[in-house]
């Protein structure tokens, strides 16, 4: 284990896993609250076209993925905001286009191969380069900055959009902020768990955390902790045997945690209801 920790490729992988584990659930908390759990999946599909464009144009695939997935996220948000029933179909079309476009472009790209395609679809954390880490690190800083700067407003928006409007919040701008932040997170996570499982790291830690917590902040904090634990844990598990794919290990570990939390949460909640006096109304002021 110590030897492995000294290996540069593993150190890079560990940093990537840490950043993903931290960022994905932070954004995920807002996304789940906004009932957009599948947003990450949609962006992930579109990002594949971005990756392939990188191979086709001989630019860094992570960078082209950022550009295309941000564009895709903005498109998804614009369709969502119009709120038409046909929006659902429009989104589906966008997703299919993203995957088909990605596979097609990857096929014609000079450096493209099925192995490369797979490494983006299912993750290839062991092949993360130092350049990747710089990009992932910068995106992670951007994502955390968004949560810190806009967190309070995003909480109101995700809780009740109409309330956000009645409080004078820039609803359209904040919705775009969420969509773009989700797109950046997808790109951070794609090298680690792959585009098809990106959304799992945004959603599962949050779903797990909310079984055990009472407040929004607490849910986010616990979800980020769970994210880091499963991302690093899954990575370590994959070192046990070369046959264990890290991306899948991370997601399965997260799911295992969810099932565990479901059981524990039920137990904890039953305990809470029995607390005496919790449901007694507090005395009311009699006269105004």
């Amino acid at each position: 284990m110590i030897e492995l920790l000294r290996a540069p490729f593993f150190q890079l992988a560990l940093v990537a896993a840490l950043l993903v584990g931290l960022c994905a659930p932070a954004v995920g908390t807002f996304i789940v609250q906004r009932r957009l759990s599948l947003l990450g999946d949609g962006i992930g599909h579109v990002a594949l076209t971005g990756v392939a464009l990188g191979f086709l144009t001989n630019t860094e695939p992570v960078l082209t993925a950022v550009v295309v997935s941000v564009a895709g996220a903005v498109a998804i948000e614009l369709v969502r905001a119009r709120g038409r029933t046909s929006g659902d179909v429009a989104l589906a079309l966008l997703f299919y286009g993203g995957i088909a476009g990605g596979v097609m472009l990857m096929g014609i790209a000079p450096g493209g191969s099925n192995a490369k395609l797979n490494s983006y679809l299912f993750g290839a954390i062991a092949s993360v380069t130092i350049q990747d880490i710089w990009v992932i690190g910068a995106l992670a800083v951007a994502v955390i900055a968004v949560v810190v700067v806009f967190g309070r407003e995003l909480f109101v928006l995700c809780q009740d959009e109409e309330m956000a409007r009645a409080s004078g919040l820039p609803v359209r701008f904040l919705s775009l902020v969420i969509a773009i932040t989700a797109a950046l997170t997808v790109v951070i996570a794609m090298r680690v768990v792959g585009l098809l499982l990106v959304s799992a790291l945004m959603v599962i830690p949050v779903a797990t955390s909310q079984q055990l917590t009472r407040g929004f902040r607490a849910t986010m904090a616990l979800a980020m902790t769970i994210g880091v634990v499963v991302a690093v844990g899954g990575l370590l598990a994959s070192t046990l045997s070369p046959r264990v794919p890290p991306g899948a290990a991370i997601v399965l570990l997260a799911l295992g945690g969810f099932v565990l939390a479901l059981g524990v949460g039920r137990f904890v909640r039953r305990g809470r209801v029995r607390e005496p006096g919790v449901h007694e109304p507090t005395p009311v002021r009699e006269a105004a």
Partner: protein, 280 residues
Amino acid sequence: MSETATETGARTAGETAFSMTGGKVTLDRRPILRGVDLTVRPGEVVAVMGTNGSGKSTLVRALLGLIPLSGGQTLLYGRPPARFRDWWRIGYVPQRLQVGGGVPATVREVVASGRIARQRRLRRTNAADRAAVADALEAVGLTARAGDPVQHLSGGQQQRVLIARALAGRPDTYVMDEPTAGVDAETQRLLADTLATLVMQGRTIVLVAHELGPLEPLITRGVVVRDGLITHDGAPPRPEGECARPGHEHVHPHAPDEPGTAEILGRGAGAGPLNWQGEA
């Protein structure tokens, strides 16, 4: 309440809180409001009444600019909603608490979000914010439950959370969409007490209701909406006899479904027969 004085802007004489002229709203090609004129001045306590589907809820949401007008215009303190900046002056109490996608939020977190219009981006939560939230929780009797998830509360308690959220912002004007609908008697009484305090402080209140219950003595003006038009605007429905004495401290003795209300309203404005019955 020294806080209140510093947080409330000086009132300009003659300004209006809300002013809608010829307001029309069309949703899915169906006309909901068909040309509404309504002006609310600071300090008024207006009850907007009407049957389900009359457009009363749409009217107050259009007043706030939450629903775009398809015709006419509406002003918030003299400005169209899109150019209105002083949102801290408005405290909106929606019909129901939205809990989003299931991420828990504590009562305190939701009530504290009522400060959002006063808290500019990056401004840290300060003592005044915390005091306002604590006062608001106290006013609705939810201090003991501040740390509980709102999802665990009953409907009436959730309604109190919504009211506390509006109180926490210490606005000039409250807009409440059916604050009394489906809440227990105790919450109704508590709401009446809270509103009485606000009225004494000279706040403006516009509330949608289809029965006033214990709020009745506080109302200074009744507006009745029917089929997207205002059919009565003037005296609020008043019970007759003993209860109508001026200065009568009103503890509502009648059943909630008081049949007399409609009659009194109809007579007052010549608005024709109004049917308040047969509602959910």
